[in-house]
Symmetry: C2
Subunit: 328 residues, 2 copies
């Protein structure tokens, strides 16, 4: 038997504990091409909220009554798949539970980069890769650019700040509260805007008197509108997430969206999964950056599988600094 | 003496006749490098509304008490500029008046493409070039794409429809009212949505059951939101204008903007002026298209300089089919 978090009902707005059920589940036998994994680390991420709705998107919705899924790192206990043996450490999508049977095709053996395994759910995983490809490819950011990144104390945002600094950019980050702003500053950000201290528009205008060349959007809504307002000509926006909207049925409104035209702004939505074939480029830069301290990994760790839901819900109240992880 | 339309006060919302004054004005003497032109055709365009506000944009605002400006075609009466002689036909920006003294550097002698001169304010002018570069460059539209264009009966929109068909695309156009929809169909559009018959979202979803690859936006607001809703993966949006917002202080709201991420949509704002160095490409394709009937030019012509304001205001109530022109 394994223990796993299940979706009990679809949340309306902010999820509540009543939408979930934590219970034992029988594991299927390990079939051909499959592995059984004991998880040691779980990832909780804002995008999971979208999968709780019954809408078509880039990943299918979670099913009611079925276990949730998500990024996880663990050790192979049993294998009927070529190339995988008991004892191997793997990253896979059978999270939200202590033990999982997964198709080996959806699992990756951790490359030997000298990093602790949980970093493959963070700076060396989809989190870091999202920051890397979003900034450098979707937004075409380059040395000398003035970059604004929202939710800069979050998992992706804190990676964006450090990658941008490593590449010679000027970085403005937004975060909520003095502690997080200090953290963003400690990552090397040139200027930090505390969105709890007033309108993000005023804060950003003051922090970016010369405007911005790049916006890395994790928030949407008022942050995106502020970025429209201060964008320089030919600014590029990488649209990574819109956490402000995930639990809010009110449509976001934009006073400055028409500046897309006058300033010739380019917006590009992206999904990190599209960059999977290029992960080699990412490892080649991020591995050394982590090893030599250019990029530091920061996690908020919650202990215990039974606290996974609290960890997830904390993402929407700003409980995490850096990457939110669950340690089993 | 010339007669010219002046800005008397800045409009709040929709402009009214009280914001303008039509009166005689003394022409300055023709200085070195200048020409005096008698206008025969004037252009009125939605972007002029933006210049009536006192805000920084890609063109400076109109000044209160000064004559308005805009595209015009006319005949040189007097020249102190090299390369210009009396009798030359020129396109220039000294519109909203019957006679103007302009710097010859801002005037273009009409190239000999066998087209009537007023077409250099339309299909062979910035209108046609806006459609051409917006569709093919900003939106990277290519053969086989499903293209949605809003305000498809308007000056730019009707050019987009025809260029897209000439390039082998499937075209869905939106317009307001049966007469305009028939016109859009007559241009070759595969499907037409009448936005006065119900929500543009429902209309577009029905007209584009397979979604859209490209959106050419002249409207913004509900049209842009509908395009977000039905965009296929890797859709490209050229953001040309947002006429729905020009006289409306209510911020546009978007229910489907987060689809930018899931569908990896690219939005690109553009200004035709940036493409001036590439007008040769445009003439090389549009000239033959007009000559052989692949592209047809349609104008709504208002006669008389004193009716210029009515022609301009008519742009916002849908009075024009195709390009709105004033004939002197």
């Amino acid at each position: 038997m394994a223990r796993a978090w299940h979706l009990k009902s679809r949340p309306q707005g902010m999820p509540t504990p009543e939408n979930f059920e934590f219970k034992e589940v029988a594991l299927p036998p390990v079939g051909d091409g499959q592995i059984r994994v004991r998880n040691s680390w779980l990832s909780v991420d804002p995008y999971m909220r979208g999968r709780m709705n019954d809408v078509k998107s880039y990943v299918p919705p979670f099913q009611i009554g079925a276990p949730l899924e998500g990024g996880a790192v663990g050790e192979v206990l049993e294998s009927k798949a070529e190339g995988f043996a008991p004892g191997d450490l793997v990253q896979h999508m059978g999270g939200w539970r202590d033990e999982a049977v997964v198709d080996a095709r959806t699992a990756n053996k951790l490359p030997n980069l000298g990093a602790p395994p949980e970093q493959f759910l963070g700076m060396l995983g989809v989190t870091g890769a999202t920051a890397y490809f979003g900034l450098l490819d979707a937004a075409s950011a380059k040395e000398g650019d003035i970059v604004f990144v929202s939710a800069a104390a979050g998992a992706v945002g804190s990676a964006v700040v450090q990658i941008a600094k490593a590449k010679g950019m000027t970085v403005i980050g937004s975060a909520g509260g003095a502690g997080k702003c200090d953290f963003v500053r400690s990552l090397g950000a040139d200027r930090v805007v505390d969105y709890r201290e007033g309108s993000i528009l005023k804060g950003l205008a003051a922090a970016a008197p010369d405007g911005i060349d790049v916006y890395f959007d994790n928030v949407g809504a008022d942050h995106l509108d502020a970025a429209f307002a201060v964008a320089r000509n030919n600014a590029r926006f990488a649209i990574c997430g819109m956490i402000a909207n995930y639990n809010d049925a009110t449509p976001a409104s934009f006073r400055f969206i028409a500046r897309i035209i006058a300033a010739r702004i380019r917006l590009k939505g992206f999904l990190v999964f599209d960059y999977m074939p290029r992960f080699g480029e990412f490892y080649a830069e991020m591995g050394p950056w982590l090893a030599n301290g250019t990029v530091k990994s920061r996690e908020t760790v919650v202990d215990g599988l039974d606290n996974t839901l609290d960890a997830f819900l904390g993402l929407f109240s700003g409980a995490n600094t850096g990457k939110m992880l669950v340690r089993l």
